[in-house]
């Protein structure tokens, strides 16, 4: 067993040395493909973080009719309190809203204070509990409140959040599709590299079969070669993605933070990293498996 493994390793190194250029070309291709995929993932991960940051800041603001009655207000408050997903409720009377508004804009523009009347409605401000389903919860409550008397309008930035969510779904599908196409391409490339590796030393492989080598014995070093290509390729690709991440962070962290407070440039998540490494191993393995199987079935008798 040990000699089997050692032999496989030695043969792999030998194969790679004998076919250095083809090997390097193949590794470069894998690197490029995985870099593309990795950069897509990087964009995706960061947009996702942004989305969930926004998600957290979403509140439901219920604007009230100016002529809302005490009873109607009580009904609304009952609805808020009986909803388990609601974390906190605060009430802004028309006067409070107006004062706040004036404070915010005081000095910046004279016209608001000259208005002479208060144009702002009173509102309830609902914060929701942390929950992956937060947006759904908000939507459900909003649908219920829309029907209530005394409610003038609702606001929770739903339009652009759901638009953004749709975009993320699209991006996910897009990345998966690109990943699928790249994977198929890579499998073909690796299988061709291994095929060249086999054909350049066909006499030796034929001789192995003639002398009674098992298929396992012949396969092992070639599978290993495909695997090594995959692993080196993905390693380099992740290195490049990491460098890009560092570069972005170094140069744009400041401006990012000034736009979205508390948002950091994220690197790929652990599951994504593992997925890429496993994918490369899988691709390397399948690629070499295909060409070896083809060779072994073409040689033995006809």
């Amino acid at each position: 067993m040990i000699s089997f493994v050692l032999n496989a390793l030695r043969t792999t190194v030998h194969n790679i040395k004998a076919n250095k250029q083809v090997f390097l070309m193949s590794v470069a291709t894998i690197t490029i493909a995985f870099t593309i995929q990795g950069l897509f993932f990087l964009v995706f991960v960061n947009l996702n973080t942004l989305l969930s940051t926004w998600d957290k800041q979403v509140q439901l603001i219920v604007y009230l009719d100016d002529g809302i009655s005490k009873g109607q207000k009580n009904v609304l408050e009952e609805i808020f309190k009986s909803n388990e997903k609601v974390d906190s409720i605060s009430y802004d009377s028309r006067d409070e809203a107006w004062t706040e508004f004036k404070n915010t804009f005081s000095g910046k523009s004279g016209f608001v204070t000259d208005l002479g009347f208060n144009p702002l409605p009173a509102s309830y401000n609902l914060k929701f509990k942390d929950d992956p389903e937060r947006l759904v919860n908000i939507r459900q409550l909003a649908d219920l409140l829309k029907e209530q008397k005394g409610v003038e309008s609702l606001e929770y930035g739903e339009k652009w959040i759901s638009r953004f969510e749709n975009f993320m779904v699209f991006l996910r599908v897009f990345i998966l599709a690109v990943g699928g196409i790249l994977s198929v391409g890579l499998i073909l490339i690796i299988s061709n590299t291994i095929k060249l590796s086999i054909y350049s030393r066909r006499d030796e492989f034929d001789l192995m079969l003639l002398l009674g080598a098992t298929h396992r014995f012949i396969k092992a070093p070639l599978l290993l070669e495909g695997l090594v290509q995959g692993v080196i390729g993905v390693g380099l690709a992740l290195g490049i993605v990491k460098l890009t991440h560092i570069y972005m962070k170094f140069n744009f962290q400041g401006s990012l933070e000034s736009i979205f407070r508390g948002v950091d440039f994220q690197f790929l998540t652990q599951p994504l990293l593992w997925a890429m490494v496993l994918a490369s191993i899988f691709i390397g393995w399948v690629g070499s498996f295909l060409s070896i199987t083809q060779y072994l079935h073409s040689t033995d008798r006809e």
Binding site: E204, L207, M208, L210, L211, G212, T214, H215, R301
Partner: protein
């Protein structure tokens, strides 16, 4: 050791390479296989170690029905057989030593065994002084002896030697013949394909004769 029934093999040419070939070889026999060039000797060998399939007929080698093997278990048959190929099939980029050791590596022998057995096999054919040369640097006869050493290194029960003395002068040929006879005395079954009348006359071994694909004496 070998039972062949009505073997028929055609490569698609005008005449088939083998027609209705039947014969039996007992364990421990020494047999000459002869016939003109193109008679089908190499083809018969290829069928015995499973490199070519037959169109009709059956062949059993050491209780294995060769036609029933598939690609992934053919190796069980091939490990019983040591073949000296007519064209040697040496790897030009490996040294003499590595070429012989190759047969050992392939069956998964450990390093120590490989070194010991390879040395032993080279000693048997008198090539220890050339162990670090590469095949293209050797004479035809020396290459032939490397091929013989490789066929013997795994201690096979059956030896198929395809013109193993084709390139050797009579004196060395006789030495090689004696080497195979020594193996035979150790209990191995030997089939030696040869054109050499001298060889055939020198010994009184059983003779199989092929003529244009037919077994005319067995």
């Amino acid at each position: 050791m070998i039972q062949a029934f009505n073997l028929h093999k055609s490569y698609g040419g005008v005449a088939p390479a083998l027609m209705d070939v039947s014969f039996t070889i007992q364990d421990g026999e020494f047999v000459f296989l002869t016939g003109q060039s193109g008679a089908g000797k190499t083809t018969l060998f290829k069928i015995l170690f499973g490199w070519e399939s037959v169109d009709r007929g059956q062949v059993i080698v050491d209780r294995i029905n060769v036609g029933k093997l598939n690609e992934s278990n053919l190796y069980t048959l091939r490990r019983k057989i040591g073949v000296v190929f007519q064209d040697y099939k040496l790897l030009p980029k490996k040294t003499v030593f590595e070429n012989v050791a190759f047969a050992q590596q392939i069956i998964g022998a450990d390093r120590k065994t490989i070194r010991f057995k390879t040395w032993d096999a080279l000693k048997n054919v008198g090539l220890t002084t050339k162990k670090d040369s590469y095949p293209p640097q050797l004479s035809g006869g020396e290459q032939q002896r490397v091929a013989i050493a490789r066929a013997l290194v795994n201690d096979p029960q059956l030896i198929l030697a395809d013109e193993p003395t084709g390139n050797l002068d009579p004196e060395v040929s006789l030495e090689i013949l004696e080497l195979f006879e020594k193996m035979n005395q150790q209990g191995k079954t030997v089939i030696m394909a040869t054109h050499s009348l001298e060889m055939l006359r020198a010994r009184d071994h059983r003779l199989l004769i092929l003529n244009r694909g037919r077994m005319v004496q067995s």
